[in-house]
């Protein structure tokens, strides 16, 4: 009986046989996956082509894949319109891009502010650690639609408990999701309300990742800092944070990516309202593609979203990269 564990002492003939077997295994896994991936590449390629056309699936268009004719070639026209156009869709694109950036750049720091200290605190807890982790992680397992409905009931202007608290404190109730005039720090209340709901659903995921990272920080480094007279806060900021920087990078990139792709929770809670205050790019892309049948325009918007996400990710990777290991 030969096993892979014996490979180190095996004869060259056996090694060669193992190599062939490995190669076959790799081929049998990767080739079907490549075929599977090629379907996605075809779809992406089609989207890439579409963004240069004023394409609507309802129109016959030209003889080749319906391109041309009543689905005319517009070149970079969509992108020029996005930047300088005054059409409804161009204005809405700029609004939704702005809202998406607000959403993503608000969610990331707020998420880190919640998850990192919480993970640190949980790491110090000695009893019921698993229970706490389970409780905090549960919203992640809940469907976005369910989360949206829960928060909508809390935000209900008449029966929601947020307004009930405000009333009890003698304050004036707020139409959290439907008042376009109400705002805070230059951002509409509806956007803050959606951000809060999104954070509630999402923070458990990053918290678990941070807990894993904190568990990997060598205890002796913290003890050495303590012997040198560092306070808990100094240990956290000067020792722990630098050591978990690769995890921080991962969390920042993933949180930013998912924030740029936010869709379902906003669609259910506000559908982009009030007065487009929560209209984000993915929602706008969806509406243009499937409600207004402007597939070409939607494809161009998707390409812009891809570029924005790529640029932000590259910047994050440059800023947060580490040049050392421990």
């Amino acid at each position: 009986m030969t096993s892979l564990a014996q490979g180190k002492n095996a004869s060259p003939r056996l090694k060669s046989g193992l190599a062939i077997a490995k190669q076959r295994f790799v081929n049998s896994v990767t080739i079907p996956l490549l075929l599977y991936e090629s379907l996605a590449i075809f779809v992406l390629g089609w989207a890439f082509v579409l963004m240069f056309f004023e394409y609507s699936p309802g129109r016959l268009g030209g003889p080749i894949l319906g391109l041309g004719g009543s689905n005319p070639f517009v070149g970079l026209g969509h992108f020029i319109e996005m930047v300088s156009g005054n059409s409804v869709r161009a204005v809405l694109f700029r609004t939704s891009l702005r809202n998406t950036l607000i959403f993503a750049f608000a969610v990331l720091p707020l998420n880190l502010l919640i998850t990192l200290p919480l993970a640190w605190l949980l790491e110090m807890v000695s009893r019921y650690k698993t229970l706490y982790r389970t409780i905090y992680f549960m919203p992640v397992l809940t469907s976005s639609v369910g989360v949206a409905l829960i928060w909508m009931s809390m935000y209900d202007p008449q029966a929601g408990w947020l307004n009930a608290i405000l009333r009890a404190l003698g304050g004036k109730p707020v139409a959290w999701l439907s008042d376009p005039r109400a705002g805070f720090a230059g951002v509409s209340i509806a956007m803050w309300a959606v951000i809060l709901a999104y954070l509630w659903q999402d923070y458990g995921y990053n918290m678990v990742i941070f807990i894993a990272a904190l568990q990997g920080v060598p205890q002796e480094l913290k003890e050495a800092a303590m012997i040198d007279g560092a306070s808990s806060w100094q240990i956290f900021t000067r020792v722990t944070i630098p050591l978990i920087q690769p995890t921080l990078l991962f969390v920042c990139v993933m949180t930013m990516l998912s924030s740029f792709q936010v869709f379902d929770i906003i669609q259910v809670m506000t559908n982009g309202g009030p007065n487009n205050r929560t209209e984000v790019l993915l929602l706008d892309i969806y509406k243009n593609a499937f409600r207004y049948q402007s597939m070409g325009w939607a494809a161009a918007e998707a390409f812009v979203l891809f570029l924005v996400v790529m640029i932000v990710t590259v910047i994050q990777m440059r800023v947060l990269r580490t040049r050392w290991e421990y």
Binding site: I31, G58, P157, R167, A175, D179, F290, M295
Partner: protein
């Protein structure tokens, strides 16, 4: 060597599966009769030994509608034992996506349910109605002007309507609240001022001053658009230019209608921040006891009964008086109806079935009663069966002939839901002035022609 042969065979299976997967790439229907429907027009063995011609029919998921279709399919198949019509239904959003992916690929079903106003956008991918089935003139005589209007594009008929999609003029009225407020019931409204007067007495606010019951909730997208366009017409204006190549929203009539709405809000019949499309949508709010008079199409009746079976208040559906003058001119979309794919191998049978369902008075009556919709045919709307089953239709009968087709807009949904409704809502909420809203509607709506 054997392993390599096996590997190549496995790859071939994967490739074949990938190539053959295009039929399911458009998502499976939510519920379909057979798990694997036969391709359009394919002949299959009939129980009696003969061959059946199989036709597929796509509809969106609406239990009441589809119960009506199933009964008529059974009746048609009984009369035509050699035909098998397979009904496949899709959730509304998925249906639109499926149409958009299947039609360019030529893989749509033989018979397609379409909303009439969509026909102008899809007509290049639809089969015209053969003259021997029905001519344009016959269609105009058979159906009301509003529902048939959408099915005629550039003088060509592309399908037949089944319902009159009337969003104008109908309101849900809460009898319990009327009586509690000491108001006359049933309401005896002669003018819209009478409606507003009643509405003001129905309004309730909580201790913090927030409106808890709206007197007259007209702040949803469809009623706002419908009453805005009807108001323009009833004031003698029009939102189309002479040759229908542009909109004319920046008019005194449009401004006057919007001002009327703003004044109604200022009078206090509804708070548009608390009652609108996204918060306290009129149907939900009405059947939760938060609305006295709720402006909505009669389709809401069946929906309310289904979704709120335990609603204890007594209520009914009434017709509003004209906004201006004595003539209730209004515009309406073309409602749901049936069309045929140009790729169907049996268009003759498909059209025969479509005519059987939509243009036969008995069958159309049965479908309208089952689906709870307003008939597209005057002959059906005026029938005693409809009067008995849908009493609100009898109330609407004097109004229906005044309905005009909305007109083929280049981007109807965008104009209605992203231009007219948001700007009017802004004006009602005080975010824009009437002038700003009207000018924005005019500019933005005309930009959809570019």
């Amino acid at each position: 060597m054997k392993k390599q042969v096996w590997f190549v065979m496995a790859l071939a299976v994967v490739l074949l599966a990938a190539c053959g997967g295009s039929k399911t790439a458009t998502s499976e229907p939510a519920t379909s009769e057979p798990a694997t429907p036969a391709p359009a027009g394919e002949a299959t063995a009939a129980p009696g030994g003969g061959e059946k011609t199989v036709l597929r029919m796509w509809v969106h998921t609406n239990n009441a509608f589809n119960a009506g279709y199933e009964a008529l399919i059974a009746a048609y198949e009984a009369a035509h034992p050699d035909v098998d019509i397979q009904l496949e239904n899709f959730e509304y959003g998925l249906y639109i996506q499926t149409l958009q992916t299947a039609m360019p690929a030529g893989e749509e079903a033989d018979i397609l349910q379409l909303f009439g106003t969509w026909v102008a956008q899809y007509h290049e991918r639809l089969a015209p109605v053969p003259p021997e089935v029905m001519t344009v003139e016959q269609a105009r005589q058979t159906f009301y002007a509003a529902p048939i209007g959408g099915y005629i594009v550039d003088g060509v008929l592309y399908g037949m309507p089944q319902e009159f999609n009337c969003e104008y003029g109908g309101v849900l009225v809460n009898k319990t609240k009327f009586e509690a407020a000491g108001l006359t019931y049933p309401p005896q409204w002669k003018t819209m001022d009478d409606v507003l007067a009643d509405a003001l007495k129905l309004v309730q606010k909580d201790e913090s001053g927030m409106m808890s019951v709206a007197g007259f909730d007209f702040v949803a997208a469809d009623p706002i658009s419908a009453s805005f366009l009807a108001g323009i017409k009833q004031r003698g204006g029009d939102y189309w230019n002479a040759d229908h190549t542009g909109f004319t929203f920046n008019t005194p009539e449009a401004r006057a209608q919007l001002q009327w709405m703003v004044d109604a809000v200022k009078a206090g019949v509804v708070d548009p921040v608390v009652f609108n499309d996204s918060t306290n949508f009129v149907i939900d709010a009405f059947f939760q006891g938060k609305v006295g008079i709720g402006y909505i199409g009669s389709w809401a009746i069946a929906l309310g009964k289904t979704n709120y079976p335990d609603f204890a208040d007594e209520w009914d559906y009434f017709i509003l008086p004209p906004i201006q003058g004595d003539t209730p001119v209004f515009v309406a979309d073309s409602g749901w109806g049936l069309t045929v794919s140009p790729h169907s191998k049996h268009q003759d049978i498909a059209w025969d079935f479509v005519k059987f369902v939509t243009a036969d008075v008995k069958n159309a009556t049965q479908w309208n009663i089952t689906s709870g919709t307003i008939p597209a045919m005057p002959a059906v709307a005026e029938s005693p069966e409809i009067a008995a089953a849908e009493p609100w239709v009898a109330k609407m009968l004097p109004m229906l002939p005044y309905g005009q087709y909305l007109g083929n807009m280049p981007d109807r949904d965008r104009v209605m839901y992203e231009i007219i409704y948001p700007h009017i809502l802004n004006a009602l909420q005080g975010v824009e002035t009437v002038d700003q809203a009207i000018e924005a509607i005019d500019t933005e709506a005309n930009s959809t022609f570019q």
